[in-house]
């Protein structure tokens, strides 16, 4: 019974993961590309993905931009509030390594300095096609996480 319930939950999560978008000090280039994914031309909703505002409802965290000394606390807060299993996608050159801003004085670096990152999407700004590809990779990650849990 428990195994069956787990299977149902896992399959529904694969069919409809909810995403939370957090702008963590990016130049807005990647943010508007993330929003463009939701609009008719790219339409990420065909994978069942819905953009939600509440971290407690979210399965996937999309982070754009560099982490700075002020918002790293906000980022860890959001990550801690999300229920497991959760996947983090870092978007854009800034989210990966700090990008062009890595030498600036208020920049900590990429998102992985603060929270663990599962999928990296490169580009400055990352194209919607790349972001959708990253989101599909994140779905595969859920399957991996489930297998690991079963093995334990």
């Amino acid at each position: 019974m428990k195994k069956m319930l787990g299977k149902i939950i896992a399959s529904t999560r694969m069919k409809s993961p909810w995403i939370l978008h957090f702008d963590c000090g990016s130049c807005n280039g990647c943010d508007i590309e993330v929003l463009a994914c939701l609009t008719p031309v790219y339409d990420i909703e065909r994978f069942g993905m819905v953009n939600v505002g509440n971290p407690m409802h979210a399965d996937i965290l999309l982070v754009t931009g560099t982490v700075n000394h002020r918002n790293k606390k906000v980022l860890t807060n959001l990550y801690d509030q999300m229920p497991a299993p959760k996947v983090v996608i870092a978007i854009g050159a800034c989210g990966l390594s700090g990008g062009i801003f890595r030498d600036a004085y208020n920049v900590v670096g990429g998102v992985d300095r603060v929270i663990p990152v599962d999928v990296y999407v490169p580009g400055c700004p990352a194209k919607p096609e790349a972001i959708i590809d990253g989101a599909v990779l994140a779905l595969k990650k859920f399957e991996v996480l489930r297998q690991q849990k079963l093995a334990v």
Binding site: N28, G29, I32, L35, T39, P40, T66
Partner: protein, 366 residues
């Protein structure tokens, strides 16, 4: 009993942001309310501050073009244009006329895409999601033009010191004109929905009033100022090729959210007209000149961004790194408007009013 309840609900402080469903960017507002009427607003900034101005120590003045483009991804081309104008003035470079017209074309394309983006987000702020989708569908056409002509969708990076990097062929210009016709037609189709719909009027008319006198005193710029009836537009200065093109600043006299929406809507059509004029008048010739030497001296340049007046102060000492770069963005100038608009309004109107000044936190904090 009644008195006790009144005392407890007298003043409540509600945090708005930094992570909020309506705002795509992190800004924190401490809103003090009495019942549901706003009494006081205190913003807390600094969630996006990176310290870009200090990067002049590491990057030279050519590389800084790529850095200033990333002050704000939405209006990147206009930031670079303002910076490049300053450096060209310091080095006394005469830019070829064709390059000036090309700069006008790309900067107006950026204005259209920024305003369409805003119109969509504004509709979303009062829950009109289908209009949001429609405007963003139109906006994709502009991004297609950007991608086809420069190679990137958002950060186009066409400006170099002494001109532009890419040229437009005759075929491309003809195609741009065709696309603009379609964009104009699709945008005008949405006009009646956005300005005559009963629910939209209910949410926007009379909300966030900013009388023209107060707007001038607070130093408000851009569409927010023009919606209060002041005809001020930096394009009247005639930078790039604007002095050879014919246009009038768009103004509205209602001073509320509806007027701000109307100004931006009319500016989309105005920009389409400006691109048509620029394409019809564009001269043949070189698109950039060779640059020798290094800048020296200090200069202030101003251009019109989609959100208002953008000011760059550049101080150079003749070496490859600049001495000082100061960027004053329109969004920073428009934040004080919120203190006059918000008190006295309902808490549920906060997203609409905050979005009506077109906040871009990435610009504000750099």
């Amino acid at each position: 009993m009644q008195e006790a309840i009144q005392k407890t609900v007298q003043r409540t402080t509600i945090p708005f942001g930094p992570q909020h469903p309506v705002l795509p960017e992190p800004v924190h507002l401490k809103i003090t309310v009495e019942d549901e009427i706003i009494k006081e607003v205190v913003p807390a900034l600094g969630f996006v501050h990176r310290g870009l101005e200090k990067l002049i120590d590491i990057r030279d003045f050519h590389q800084m073009i790529q850095v200033v483009e990333r002050v704000c991804g939405i209006c990147s081309m206009i930031h670079a244009m303002c910076y490049v104008h300053g450096i060209e003035e310091l080095m006394k470079i005469e830019v070829p006329p064709r390059a000036k017209y090309l700069r006008v074309i790309w900067s107006e394309l950026h204005r259209i895409h920024s305003h369409l983006l805003w119109l969509g987000l504004f509709a979303d702020s009062f829950g009109f999601e289908s209009v949001f989708m429609q405007f963003w569908r139109i906006r994709e056409k502009i991004l297609n033009i950007d991608e086809a002509t420069t190679g990137n969708r958002i950060i186009v990076s066409v400006n170099v010191v002494g001109g532009v990097r890419k040229d437009l062929s005759q075929d491309q210009m003809r195609w741009i004109l065709d696309e603009l016709d379609q964009i104009e037609q699709m945008t005008t189709q949405l006009e009646s929905t956005l300005f005559e719909d009963y629910t939209v009027k209910k949410r926007t008319i009379g909300k966030g009033l900013l009388p023209s006198r107060q707007a001038v005193e607070l130093g408000i710029v851009g569409p927010t100022l023009r919606a209060s009836g002041v005809a001020q537009d930096m394009r009247q200065l005639g930078y790039a090729a604007f002095k050879e093109l014919d246009f009038e600043p768009v103004t509205e006299n209602n001073c509320d959210c509806w007027a701000r929406c109307r100004v931006r809507y009319r500016e989309v059509l105005q920009s389409i007209d400006l691109i048509r004029q620029a394409i019809s008048k564009i001269p043949a010739g070189e698109i950039n000149v060779k640059v020798k030497g290094r800048p020296q001296g200090e200069v202030i340049t101003r251009v019109e961004q989609p959100r208002g007046e953008l000011l760059y102060y550049i101080k150079a000492n003749g070496s490859k790194n600049l001495d000082r770069l100061r960027i004053r963005t329109p969004t920073f100038a428009n934040i004080p408007a919120l203190f006059t608009m918000l008190p006295g309004m309902w808490l549920s109107d906060v997203p609409v009013i905050v979005l009506s000044i077109d906040p871009c936190i990435s610009c504000t904090e750099r």
